[in-house]
Symmetry: C2
């Protein structure tokens, strides 16, 4: 599944410039490319050559000229083909799991700092994506089905982070590291953990 699919998908509801495509891809929670120039302008040039898109150059007085890209009928057929291919399972890239796997290198205090750091990162991502969902730029059509699906896409991303948050909280509990221990009051969990881990 290449970036071409994303570009065709975006263009299927609106004609746009490369620059605008770039911004949409960068801000999208599920189009997982960085949205850098190199990829987008190259992909557009290639798709122009193969007839999946056309462009219309808009000269502006003085300022740089715009190229507004429009999807062709062939492009729409290609998009439909991409939507039809057999679904692939999701892939997870969690560098933190590797840090955790070899956390034998760390003492319990350092490990807790890392867990807390990870928890904060996830909370940050949840907040960020909830905001993205709220403002919800860009949904192709405005049918009920489409609106529901696009909301569920946001829900998917947020629930993935939420699931991760629950997991890390459970892990910290299981390790007997509670906030209390490293600051406030310190209760039951602490006594238990001393037996096993100290």
């Amino acid at each position: 599944m290449s970036i071409n699919f994303a570009i065709l998908g975006i263009l299927s509801s609106k004609s746009l410039t490369g620059y605008e495509l770039k911004k949409i891809i960068q801000e999208s929670p599920f189009m997982y490319w960085s949205g850098n120039n190199n990829q987008i302008y190259k992909a557009l040039a290639e798709m122009l050559a193969t007839g999946l898109v056309t462009n219309e150059v808009q000269q502006q007085e003085g300022s740089p000229s715009k190229k507004i890209y429009t999807i062709t009928e062939t492009g729409r057929e290609e998009l439909r083909k991409c939507a039809q291919i057999a679904p692939e399972p999701p892939e997870f890239k969690k560098t933190f799991l590797m840090q955790l796997a070899w956390s034998g290198q760390l003492n319990i205090r350092e490990l807790n700092a890392q867990l807390e750091g990870y928890e904060n990162e996830i909370k940050c991502q949840i907040a960020l994506h909830q905001e993205k969902r709220r403002i919800n730029t860009f949904c192709p059509d405005e049918t009920d089905r489409e609106l529901y699906i696009w909301d569920m896409i946001h829900e998917n991303i947020i629930s993935s982070y939420r699931n991760e948050l629950i997991w890390v909280e459970r892990l910290r509990q299981g390790l007997g590291i509670s906030y209390e221990k490293w600051g406030c009051t310190g209760v039951l969990t602490t006594a238990k953990s001393r037996l096993t881990y100290e």
Copy 2:
């Protein structure tokens, strides 16, 4: 976070050949590289040059010679550094969300086929990773803390797929597409799958 970290991590508990490292990385649920020769042998050569590992060539009569790699003190320091760097949030690569985003191209029957396909893929992944967890090859140390953490790593992966499964089931419900509607004598199948995978 490069593949070097994974290699150092694996070598931190046992000296191994490139070939053995490759297999461990390929079979790991959280070391997200394909584990191809090119990357591993190149990384090992580079790490040998920079003194993070050493190797001992074991000539075998007739058969190809083995190179058994061992982590050095410098390598262990590097590993510790990697475990200490600020945690990054997880990244999700879900091509299916893109297919869903532009599923306006599909009719309701085609959409349901895709959703069912995705659900099956996820169930397949859950079964696969549950099996991996059961046989659990390779856990560095055998301390209680280490064993608990490695089990929680497996739990993380499985729960991510489980979360995805719940989401897709909810989506199908929301779209009003149930097994019953498409003639598969639904109620039992649905109930059964919940028992097995939730």
